[in-house]
């Protein structure tokens, strides 16, 4: 009975550990591919502070358009 319990424990633990490691690999790969900071906090005058989603840290399209206009 105890041997069976240890066997079940082994299998369940192995599954959880593998899922945990898989998710970690996925997370780190995505983070590297996005090439963005892990976390960004930005000051806003309207509130004491505000968190900015990493991908919205700067609007690149808007910046590029502005840059092109000014360098024409």
């Amino acid at each position: 009975m105890r041997k069976k319990l240890l066997f079940i424990f082994y299998i369940v633990s192995a599954v959880f550990v593998c899922v945990h490691l898989g998710l970690r690999v996925n997370h780190l790969t995505q983070l590297e591919a996005s090439n963005t900071p892990l976390f960004v906090a930005t000051y806003s005058e309207h509130s004491t502070s505000s968190k900015v989603p990493v991908n919205d840290a700067i609007n690149y399209k808007e910046w590029a358009e502005k840059f092109e206009e000014q360098t024409k």
Binding site: L21, L28, V40, T48, I58
Partner: protein
């Protein structure tokens, strides 16, 4: 005899292959790393359009066709649990902190998340870098908090000097990372050796005293027991550039050196805080020592540890791939999967003695690896010694024969 020889052959192959895989992971990691920090810094401008690098740690943001910079970005790093934490701080031309970004961290992600969720960085936004800013620690993630605080302060230093000509970095004392816990780790390891050697009738009591002390100090108080991530940090060499907590590295190094010297592992039965927890739970329930015999159960944890170490080396972040239930047990920090794993380990410990130690604990594969290679090295040395002795004996016999022929 034949099967033992065959098993030894495959163990030798596995040992060599695992070393090669670790080296390949290390090499792969070094080719993967590119200097993407400046790309990230670009995203941190708020009012500026153009980013100019002034020196290694300082950038200025300008508006097109205007002379004066509107903001500055300073870079700084602090020493965390698994290595450096890199931070960038955007400061306005008046010296107010506008944006703080964590560029990279080698700490376990759960610890970093805890610090971020405590709004530690938001509290600094809007503050002027000319004045001193003090940051409260986050309990349960002190090392990560210190790393982040240190990094933010260092990132503000070059901007402060550029804007106000104040060099506060010169007056700052470097943070000492050697703590009383490190000395205690050495002392307790010495005591563990003595307890294992003694034949005193109260040996079991001494062992329990050490186990419980270790559980309280290295477990619940400091959560500085070593794990697969510590093994990764040790072989990756991240400890050479600085760590926020050396206790686990010291313990691991002592354990490895003692196994190499004596072939004995005193850590698991006498010092391991998680082992102590399982022992305490075993006392509460009706437990028995059970082992799983099939070869698969022996080889799976070895493969698991090897994969974990390779991933840690490849991503240059061993702390991210820790898979033990220690973080949840002693700090309530970790993923939901590790939380479930910890819960089922605790429940199983009431019925089976030390279930984690008998299944997936990375300590067993590490001990097996060191012991096997030690034995292999010794047998190679013995063979060479034997060969030398045979050659010497042959030479002596030859000279004796020659001498007797001459005398005849």
């Amino acid at each position: 005899m034949y099967s033992k020889k065959r098993s030894d052959f495959w163990k030798k192959v596995a040992s060599i292959v695992s070393v090669i895989l670790l080296l390949l992971a290390w090499y792969g990691g070094s080719t993967r790393i590119t200097d993407n920090q400046s790309g990230m810094v670009d995203q941190l401008l708020i009012n500026g359009d153009l980013l100019n690098q002034i020196d290694d740690r300082l950038y200025e943001g300008r508006i097109l066709n205007k002379l004066n910079p509107v903001e500055y970005i300073g870079l700084g790093s602090g020493i965390g649990y698994g290595g450096m934490t890199e931070v960038a701080v955007t400061v306005s031309s008046l010296g107010d902190i506008q944006r703080i970004a964590v560029l990279s961290s080698k700490d376990t992600s759960s610890y970093l998340d805890k610090v971020i969720q405590s709004n530690l960085m938001e509290k600094l936004l809007g503050k002027n870098i000319k004045s001193n800013f003090e940051i409260d620690g986050v309990s349960g993630a002190t090392v990560s908090t210190n790393a982040l605080t240190e990094a933010i302060k260092r990132a503000a230093d070059p901007v402060r000097f550029e804007l106000f000509g104040i060099n506060r970095a010169e007056n700052e004392k470097p943070i000492s990372h050697f703590r009383w816990l490190d000395l205690l780790a050495i002392a307790m390891f010495t005591m563990a050796i003595l307890v294992n050697k003694t034949r005193h009738r109260k040996k079991s009591m001494f062992n329990w005293a050490l186990l419980l002390t270790s559980m309280c100090v290295f477990g619940f108080y400091s959560s500085s027991l070593f794990s697969s991530s510590t093994m990764g940090i040790l072989i990756s060499g991240a400890w050479l550039t600085g760590l926020g907590n050396y206790t686990s590295i010291i313990l691991l190094s002592l354990v490895i050196l003692y196994i190499i010297a004596t072939n004995k592992n005193v850590y698991c039965n006498t010092l391991c805080p998680f082992g102590a927890t399982q022992e305490c739970l075993a006392k509460l329930g009706n437990t028995k020592t059970i082992s799983l015999t099939p070869v698969f159960f022996e080889w799976f944890p070895r493969g698991l540890l090897l994969v974990t170490l390779c991933l840690g080396l490849y991503y240059r972040n061993p702390a991210s791939f820790s898979y033990e239930p220690f973080g949840i047990m002693f700090g309530m920090i970790g993923s939901i999967y590790l939380f479930v794993l910890t819960t089922i380990t605790i429940v199983t410990s009431l019925v089976v003695k030390r279930p984690w130690c008998r299944t997936l604990c990375p300590m067993n594969p590490m001990t097996d690896f060191i012991r096997f290679n030690r034995q292999w090295f010794k047998s190679v040395l013995n063979k060479q010694r034997l060969k030398r002795q045979i050659i010497l004996t042959n030479q002596m016999v030859g000279s004796e024969v020659k001498r007797s022929e001459v005398s005849k």
